[in-house]
């Protein structure tokens, strides 16, 4: 089966005030129809920027600051590079082909309109449906999402709803035009764990019903294991490891992935001596990346004279896994 989405050498640079920030640097990946892939990393690693770039919402206008190709197979069958589309054409892609949900549903919803108004707006704007038809599908959507008392929810304003309910409304708006790809940017981060569990179950159920693909952006490795089969780990604007979740989590090859997994507090095991194996130092600022491997100042496997001088490329391992580390073969041995 051909890919639904092909991202090739995507680079996003933010420049201004004499500073250039490489937010995303030459990122490539594929997404198959109906697949869930998790993009995981810490704040500032560029994961959200990738989601915005696919939506055409980075706000980067200067020539050369946004390069690469983002090829999407449309529902009608044709394939287009989204980077080459006009604003008007992109407007038709958003909602109908690709939709996005965000971390904080309160700031993504309009506080002065009812929930029903906002879902209807999405449907009439993107599909040209009539008001009554849109109202009917809004009600149907909320019911499909398992929202109790859906009629009342349609009449409610966002501030009258709980965080979990607001995120369900955002999902309803995103799914209202049946996109083939949903970009979910930390959709459960602001929610309690019990509500997070509800939303993850809901996304899985909706995916089984609609066959949409999900690009799930998160910093939480636990959530990755719950929702995705394949994952890409990012650090400082680049993919540093990617592969099947079961393999990456079980035997991480990139020292960063390994260190991050080790440092997680786990319910099922106590840390030796009550100490968590922490990663020293901090995430580098994207405007001042260290030379060589961006992770080397924090890496316990870093070799002076090698890792601080040579920039590692993304290498293919035997098992459909890619890793960006000069020493991965030695470390794996």
């Amino acid at each position: 089966m051909s890919a639904l989405l092909e991202v090739r050498d995507l680079t996003v640079r933010f420049s201004g005030r004499g500073q250039v920030v490489n937010a995303v640097h030459r990122v490539s990946f594929d997404l198959a129809p109906g697949e869930t892939v998790a993009l995981v990393g810490e704040s500032g690693c560029g994961k959200s920027t990738i989601g915005l770039a696919i939506m055409g919402l980075t706000g980067v206008a200067r020539a050369g600051d946004l390069t690469g190709a983002i090829t999407l197979t449309f529902k009608a069958g044709k394939r287009r590079d989204l980077m080459g589309l006009s604003d008007r054409a992109m407007q038709a892609v958003r909602g109908n082909e690709v939709a996005m949900i965000f971390q904080e549903p309160m700031s993504s919803l309009n506080p002065v309109h009812t929930v029903g108004w906002q879902i209807r707006e999405a449907i009439t704007q993107h599909q040209g449906a009539s008001r009554t038809a849109a109202d009917d599908s809004a009600l149907g959507l909320l019911k499909q999402l398992g929202i109790p008392d859906a009629e009342r929810c349609l009449r409610a304003y966002p501030h009258q709803l709980s965080g979990g309910m607001r995120q369900r409304v955002m999902i309803a708006i995103a799914l209202s035009c049946r996109p083939s790809l949903l970009i979910a940017d930390e959709p459960t981060t602001a929610l309690d764990v019990t509500i997070q569990a509800q939303i993850l179950e809901l996304l899985k159920r909706l995916q089984a019903q609609t066959g949409m693909a999900i690009l799930f952006i998160t910093h939480n490795f636990g959530v990755v294991a719950e929702i995705a089969k394949r994952t890409m780990v990012m650090y400082a604007g680049q993919i540093v490891e990617a592969g099947a979740v079961s393999e990456v989590f079980h035997a991480p090859r990139m020292p960063y992935t390994r260190a991050l997994l080790d440092s997680l507090p786990r319910l099922d095991r106590a840390a030796p001596g009550g100490r968590l194996p922490a990663i020293p130092g901090q995430v580098p600022s994207p405007s001042a990346l260290p030379p060589g491997c961006a992770f080397h100042p924090r890496c316990r496997y870093a070799l002076p004279g090698l890792c601080d001088g040579r920039t590692p490329a993304l290498e293919m391992c035997d098992d459909r896994r890619v890793v960006r580390c000069l020493r991965w073969t030695e470390i794996a041995a």
Binding site: T194, A197, H219, G222, V224, A270, Q282
Partner: protein, 325 residues
């Protein structure tokens, strides 16, 4: 048994709901309702629960940053709820707080030195400027920040560094009790572990009693000796951290634990997905407050409010059903 540093008995904080042109009280938000616990020296008590469970209000009422409605807070034998302003200031020399958000809890106009020295100045400790600077430098050193940070401003610091400053400020007056309100929630994963380890080190070195408030029960398992699980302003279960995490006895604790996503894809557990949201504390359910979302609820749960009863050594739960979970 040694005397606890802090002994909280039947603590209650009800916020009044006022309505009308001439506002009058039309109801109460029962943020904290009849909560009792104790913390021993050199012990960490974790307060776990979802947002809206009242955990932050518990922490703040202990220090009287909000005034408790009823109940007693006994700190080293002294009743805190009756202290006058002067005695309260003396009490706060012994009891400090670390806030969740290291961005809004540090004054952006002050230097790091001024921020950490402020409690010393307020309490009249170390009036000599040179001695004070040395003490601040030593405090920063104890949280692994070098002397070059003295003159910096909060905006020049990362989230993890700011949280270290917040910890140094809390420790400046040599407190015996520290309330840490979600100290790692706003930090990156790789920084969380650093701060958790730092708190552990400081507890052992200084013999602190620590109230660790968090919604993340996995973090708490590593930090806390004992854990109290709160829901709608009430303690549902309290016991040793290990017992709570490995053999929970309350249906809410069980559900909370099962909702934590596990990063090991090979360990798929039976997941209990709680239905609905936490009810409003202005109008809590009758009987057991958890019964509306509880998979084990029976008719009797709506009638009687279950008291905390022992189920093991130092382990208590507030649930009518012995067979659950």
């Amino acid at each position: 048994m040694t005397q606890p540093v802090l002994d909280v008995r039947n603590l209650r904080k009800w916020f009044e709901i006022r309505r009308g042109v001439i506002p009058r009280v039309v109801g109460h938000v029962k943020a904290v309702d009849d909560v009792s616990f104790a913390i021993q020296p050199n012990q960490v008590l974790g307060l776990a629960g979802e947002s809206g469970s009242g955990k932050t209000t518990i922490g703040r009422s202990l220090l009287r940053l909000v005034e408790p409605t009823a109940g007693q807070v006994v700190f080293q034998g002294t009743e805190v709820t009756r202290l006058d302003a002067r005695a309260l200031r003396r009490f706060r020399r012994k009891a400090q707080i670390i806030f969740q958000d290291p961005y809004s809890s540090l004054d952006p106009r002050m230097s790091i030195e001024e921020i950490v020295a402020e409690p010393l100045r307020v309490q009249g400790i170390e009036p000599d400027r040179r001695a004070r600077r040395e003490r601040v430098a030593a405090l920063l050193d104890s949280v692994s920040l070098s002397g070059e940070f003295l003159r910096r401003r909060p905006r020049e610091l990362s989230g993890g560094q700011r949280q270290r400053v917040g910890i140094a400020r809390a420790l400046a007056v040599d407190p015996e009790l520290v309330v840490a309100d979600e100290p790692v929630a706003s930090l990156d994963v790789s920084i969380q572990a650093q701060i958790v380890n730092l708190l552990q080190d400081l507890k052992e070195k200084l013999g602190l009693a620590l109230l660790f408030i968090s919604h993340d029960i996995a973090v708490m398992r590593h930090v806390a000796d004992r854990i109290a699980v709160v829901y709608l302003g009430k303690i549902m279960e309290i016991g040793a951290a290990r017992d709570i995490c490995e053999a929970p006895r309350h249906p809410y604790t069980e559900a909370l634990l099962s909702a934590v996503p596990n990063p090991d894809p090979e360990q798929r557990r039976q997941r209990i997905v709680l239905q609905g949201d936490i009810p409003s504390p202005a109008n809590p359910p009758t009987g057991c407050v958890f019964r509306t979302r509880c998979p084990y609820a029976i008719a009797a749960c709506a009638q009687t409010e279950p008291p905390l009863e022992p189920v093991g050594a130092g382990h208590y739960k507030a649930c009518l059903r012995d067979d659950a979970p």
